[in-house]
């Protein structure tokens, strides 16, 4: 039996693979290297916890310290999927109002094919964000739709956001429709130009 090893043993090279110790090898296998490594992993774990932690006095103090790094690295996430409760469904519809005052109705969420559109979740994610974040994205959405429907000579876009009702299993079995959306009609947004989409 060989004597017990310790984590601080240096470059024994028994495997025959790394006989000539590199600079990295010497650093990582030295006491100092492992202390630095220990600090690094501790900070990383703290960052993971602070990012995910609920609002509290501790988070209030620690989050601002970690937030810039977490956001630069794109790892600032709370991980609360479908919680505390699953959200309600959203659908977005819109009317294109043309130069003669005529209305042309379109549907966004409902026009997608669940399995045919393989980027489905990403696109519906935007539609949901559009519905929830008014007026942040409404202007841009209207501009985009004006360009998309250039052939209709659009003058205004009227967006409607529908919220899905909560239907429990008993109500569902009694025939209540899952898709009886309650719509909110937003103020029409004028098309700035009617230039064709680039």
């Amino acid at each position: 039996m060989r004597p017990p090893t310790t984590p601080l043993d240096k470059g024994r090279g028994e495997s025959g693979i790394s006989q000539a110790p590199s600079a990295t090898h010497l650093v990582m296998n030295s006491t100092l290297g492992r202390i630095v490594g220990s600090v690094a992993v501790s900070v990383a774990v703290l960052g993971m916890v602070v990012s995910a932690a609920p609002k509290s006095a501790i988070k209030y103090v620690s989050y601002p310290v970690f937030a810039p790094t977490l956001q630069i690295l794109n790892v600032d996430t709370s991980w609360g999927y479908f919680s505390p409760n699953p959200t309600r469904g959203f659908v977005v519809r819109y009317d294109v109002i043309d130069a003669s005052g005529g209305r042309h109705s379109f549907r966004l969420t409902e026009s997608l094919s669940r399995w045919g559109d393989i980027g489905y979740t990403r696109v519906t994610g935007y539609y949901t964000e559009l519905g929830e974040s008014r007026p942040r994205y409404a202007q841009g959405a209207a501009r985009h739709l004006c360009n998309r429907h250039h052939d209709l000579d659009p003058r205004q876009i009227e967006l409607m956001v529908g919220t899905q009702p909560k239907v429990n299993p008993v109500e569902f079995l009694r025939g209540k429709d899952l898709y009886e959306f309650k719509f909110e009609r937003w103020d029409p947004i004028a098309c700035e130009t009617s230039s064709p989409r680039s």
């Binding site: 028994e14 490594g37 937030a67 794109n74 980027g119 935007y126 841009g140 569902f172």
Partner: protein, 314 residues
Amino acid sequence: MRDLLTPFVTAWMRWWFEAPEIRGLELVRAGLGFAMLVSFAAQAYCLFDLYTDAGWVSLAELKAHRNPWRWSLLFYLTTPWQVRLAWLAAVVGSAAFMVGWKTAWVKWPLWVLHTSFCNRAPYSMYGMDDIAAVLLLLLCLAPIGRSRLPAPDSAEYARASAITRLIQIQMAIVFFFSGAEKLRGSQWWHGDAVWFALTDIEFHIWPLAPLASRLWLINAMTYGSVLVELAYPFRIWDDNTRPYLLVAAIGLHVGIGVMMGLVQFAIAMIAGHLIFTPSGWIDQLRWLLRSLGSTNGTTGLDRGGRGPRTDLEP
């Protein structure tokens, strides 16, 4: 004092830098690469709608609301052909990352591209992108994609071990906070949450009448999900319970993928869970790959030298 600290320090160093199994990193790499390949490929038809000025959100509109710490190459690559080129690089990079081709070179540009796409269109990001971001960043820091794993005494092994532990902790954190947050919700508490998730128009893909008439099944699925998410962070570390928790967690994500259509998210999460794959399973997988004749000692699952260091070896 020194006598008191030495066992703790030794145990700490061993746990972080001498993990007995680091081959799970390669499984995570391959799985995550596949998830990202599917995810990027799926964006082909909505690329210009999401990432160009002619799309839903122009760069000016995004910048008016964006977080100043969020950066993106796509703030500078704005024309359709530039976005298409970046997307193509991401697709090729994901494929290379998946198969382990030139991983040391590919992983960093892939991380830059993934972050860039996320930050250009934060309104269309979802769980798949969150888990991919953390796993990809950690894998960038690990010595992966090599034909043989680092020798057990090497600095590279210590680095791979530390990253293995960080990914394991990250997966435990994901499940802990996801499960704990659910306890605040009345629908999870009363056992109905899975029903309401499945009836959301975004996730409603199967006929629901068979489920509606079996309330006990809805309750079982709801409580089972919470139970797995809360048990995982505590019991996955124990060798005796790890296989059960691993199967349960993978089963949960297969269920999410099949029942709700969140396939890419499910693949990415399963890839993350593979970091806990027991050594025996990896040995069997390696044997299977070799027996299929698809590899010649370059699976990335071959041990470097004599395998992980133990004190019991002669």
